[in-house]
Amino acid sequence: MKKILLLLICFFGLSAQAQDKGSMLIKNGTVLTVTKGTLPETDVLIKDGKIAQIAKNISAPQGVKVIDAKGLFVMPGIIDPHSHIALDAINEMTSPVTAEVAESDVVNPLQINIYHALAGGVTTIHALHGSANAIGGQCVTLKLRYGTFSLDAMRMEGAPRTIKFALGENPTRVHGGGSNIVPRTRMGVEFVIRKSFSDAKKYREDWDAYNKSKLVKGFRGAPPAYNLRLETLAEILKGNILIHCHSYRADEIMMLLNVCKDFGIKKITFQHANEGFKVAPELAAYGAMASVFSDWWAYKFEVYYSSAYNAAILTKNGVVTSVNSDDPEMMRHLYLEAGKTQKYGALTDEEALALITINPAKQMGIDTRTGSLEVGKDGDVVIFKNHPLSIYGVPQFTIVDGIVRFDKANDPADMRLWADPKQNLEEATFYEKGTDHCMDGTEFLFTSDKK
């Protein structure tokens, strides 16, 4: 059976069915809805990729696959709000502002990491631009429809646009240290962001004026120059693009909150935010959100001060908080990362699960579609053996849009979609190099040979 599945993938691809939606009935599981409590011995019916019914004793419609989840735990697909997998380029590090570049252009649906993530129960990721630039590129929300060769089929259709910002040491050492241009300091980073917003505002005004005068009969005149970078920044000001900002220190978080306030920007999520707990009430008051590591810090100077209680403190202060991986390995056990908040901060099961489901969905603007098990939402489901927050929890099935994309009992050794004939055998399966780094592509700046 394994062989046949693999052969099918090899020879026909799943591209035709990639955007297809599946139907299935998951019977008698302990359903962890996250938003509507825990339902023992309950069935979940997915029809054409959407959750159609959650109830006891649903009878399977004809021809619909049934998964017996008796003794198993059924939860919403895990969402990783900070990842760099499935991308062919991460940093356009040549300029401190690159709002015009978009990760959606460089999605790589072939990376084996995607399948590994599915094995950890992840169904949706926020694939981010790196943190080399004060204003980096636009990010892309992907559904892990592993099996497709189509770059478009990976994208979660209708997900809001998002963009990566970065504060602190990364942009200052790349551009100030590496290229000897602004920003060299944290003040410089603030200047770059404020100037970009001001330029975008002026750009929008010029275009609005031009478009208005164009309506006058007999109008003659030159249009302003088109600029995709300013176009994109103007969309942030309009609220059409959500900011996700790489940040660590409390002071810089407050700085960006002030900038947002000045420019009327409401939607922002602070990524990492290791000192977020220091300004949790301020974040909550602004409606800003935070996406953090469970217990990871001190890997560089600006992130020396942190706490494993960060997620819990933020949560208790009313900040919509998520836990992210920023790493293909950690992505495979985000449920354990969420579980750590029960040791450090005594979050409830629902609070802890929300960190990797409904909360990241809110941060990515997709909470009406994913993040909890509710009728009408996408059929993105993980079925665990043992409770997902227990150290014994192991994903058995990962389902995206009602289609099983990972099945632990049917897990061939070589799940690559395409075997590159030029690749060495030794590199074939396990590890994708250079695809998982915030600072990917900037290394050359930090060598003595940079000139």
Partner: protein, 567 residues
């Protein structure tokens, strides 16, 4: 934010071995000009006037570069030079849809400093020169012209060197004494590659795509405004001249397509994304993995030229273990899990190679129209690659179609090229056996009515002695892109030594330099940030070129090629 020393180090590594270098000007061979005469008759020949048709023992008459008569009952003009081609086969001259045949590679300018603002470099540094015209670099005495013509190719769509937006393409005849004489269609398309500049904007594919949109949309606006200005210039700001924007105008008007190199599965889709966003008409060349997204390509309506390059067929001596010890072991011991895993991985590789080889067959079966491109194919492998494609299911008729009538149509030249018919340009290839026969040899080629006779070469004499000594220029392909550099090998009574020079002009002493047979191997080390990495190199020398791999330990193996510098 994650940092791992390994990856930082990899980047440094590629930079350290990354090089820009002078490429020696290629010596141009002065070939005797083919017999001049403008009237020919090819007699007693099996004519394949178009794919699937055949005229036995026919005659083809040509005059002043045009075909004037084809058939069995044809009178031969008195001034015609008669070429007896008894039992030979004549086909319409082959057409290549994308290459740099006859295009001189501009000299690299080494040691250019990184611009002060790498985010806003001069357009030329960024690779944005769409106003350039490949005709400026056309040279009929480039070796590539003769090499490709000797296979029966008579026409190429050629593009300038460079990346991103190097300039406009031209359709050329593989004949002529000057650039202008070669050109059949100038500015046939606007050429582009999704390749960024090194360490300056646009560096990544995503920035290249963003810049593409920015340039195109700006050009549209400027074009419209120029039209308004032209209609009534009074009291309007004068639009500025901008050759970069103007280069897009014929594309915006749908007068010419954008010709994109679109090799891999993802590159192909990214090109299609740009087409979808901007709406230009599109020609894709050098396609290799299109079969994985056939429907997407089909619905795009893009014109297609499939790569004539194929991956190596893989090792054929799999069954022979490398040394006797292993053979004893494998003979007695059952296969380990590792053996089985390796076998499985090897099998998948072979399946991939088989599918890549069958791309043309799959396209043909799906009813898609396509030609071929030789851009990245090794010229000498082309006939064998065509046979491999045929063995993988492409019919000979479909193969011939893709070499003649289909590309003629795709290039809009089917009134003049692609078949042997009265009035068409006299482009012909004559082989002693049917062309796709393994033993077939091309005997004559006509391009634009010019006659080329191929001497049947005796196989090159193995002179037995490989010389490693000397100065070489090399290129490596690493994840950070393609890099050039210099290599000097010294020979002191059989004791080899040498140095390798990187882009910064940094010299590194070579160690363990050895020549065994035609294999040159050496190692070198470099230190960076407290790490020392040993790099192993092994290349096979073939006269004045070499090919092999560069292996910086666990970072993998990367292809390395070189040519001997002219003395």
């Amino acid at each position: 934010m994650i940092q791992r020393i390994d990856n930082r180090f990899t980047g440094i590594l590629f930079l350290a071995i990354g090089m820009f270098a002078l490429r020696g000007a290629i010596a141009q061979d002065e070939k005797p000009v083919a017999p001049v005469g403008r009237s020919y008759a090819l007699t007693h020949v099996n004519i394949i006037p178009s794919p699937g048709k055949k005229i036995e023992k026919g005659t083809v008459v040509m005059k002043d570069g045009l075909i004037t008569a084809v058939g069995t009952n044809v009178s031969i003009p008195s001034d015609a030079i008669i070429i007896k081609a008894d039992s030979m086969y004549v086909y319409a001259g082959f057409i290549d849809g994308l290459s740099r045949t006859g295009v001189t590679k501009p000299k690299d300018e080494p040691g250019q400093p990184r611009p002060k603002d790498p985010g806003n470099p001069p357009a030329e540094r960024a690779g944005i020169t769409p106003q350039n015209d490949v005709r400026n670099w056309l040279n009929p005495s480039e070796k590539s012209v003769e090499e490709l013509r000797n296979l029966g190719f008579t026409v190429s769509q050629v593009v300038p060197y460079g990346h991103f937006l190097p300039g406009t393409s031209a359709v050329i005849l593989l004949s002529g004494k000057s650039s202008d004489e070669m050109v059949l269609v100038d500015q046939s398309g606007l050429y582009s590659e999704l390749t960024g500049a090194q360490f300056i904007y646009p560096n990544t594919v995503m920035a290249v795509m963003a810049k593409w949109r920015d340039l195109y949309r700006n050009a549209m606006l400027t074009k419209n405004y120029q039209a308004m200005y032209a209609a009534n210039r009074n009291a309007l700001l004068r639009p500025q001249n901008d050759r970069i924007q103007e280069a897009f105008y014929p594309v915006i008007d749908q007068k010419i397509p954008v010709v994109f190199k679109a090799e891999g599965l993802l590159e192909t889709q990214r090109v299609l994304t740009l087409k979808r966003d901007l709406g230009f008409s599109l020609t894709m060349g050098d396609l290799r993995e299109g079969f994985l997204i056939m429907d997407k390509i089909k619905s795009s309506g893009a014109k297609l030229f499939l790569s004539l390059d194929l991956p190596d067929e893989g090792k054929k001596d799999d069954k022979k273990p490398k040394d006797k010890k292993d053979s004893v072991k494998t003979g007695t011991k059952p296969k380990t899990a590792l053996d089985l895993e390796k076998e499985g991985l090897e099998k998948r590789k072979k399946e991939s190679i088989a599918r890549l080889t069958a791309q043309a067959a799959e396209f043909s079966k799906a009813g898609m129209v396509f030609g071929f491109s030789v851009l990245t194919a090794k010229t000498k492998d082309i006939p064998a690659n065509l046979r491999r494609m045929i063995a993988a299911g492409l019919t000979e008729e479909a193969a011939l179609t893709a070499l003649t009538t289909a590309p003629a149509k795709l290039l809009g030249l089917d009134d003049r090229l692609g078949t042997i018919e009265n009035g068409k340009i006299a482009n012909l290839v004559v082989s002693d056996k049917p062309y796709f026969n393994e033993k077939a040899k091309v005997r004559y080629v006509f391009v634009d009515g010019n006659f080329y006779q191929l001497e049947s070469k005796s196989p090159a004499k193995p002179d037995g002695k490989t010389v490693a000594k000397g100065n070489w220029s090399y290129t490596t392909e690493t994840p950070n892109g393609s890099n050039n550099g210099k290599l000097t090998i010294k020979d002191d009574n059989g004791n080899l030594s040498g140095i390798i020079i990187n882009s910064m002009g940094k010299e590194t002493e070579l160690k363990e330099v050895q020549l065994s047979g035609n294999t040159l191997s050496f190692t070198f080390e470099f230190s960076m940030g407290g790490n020392t990495q040993k790099v192993e190199v092994s290349v096979k020398i073939d006269g004045d070129t070499f090919e092999g791999t560069l292996s910086p330990g666990k970072f993998g193996n990367f292809p390395m090629k070189g040519t001997r510098d002219p003395k």
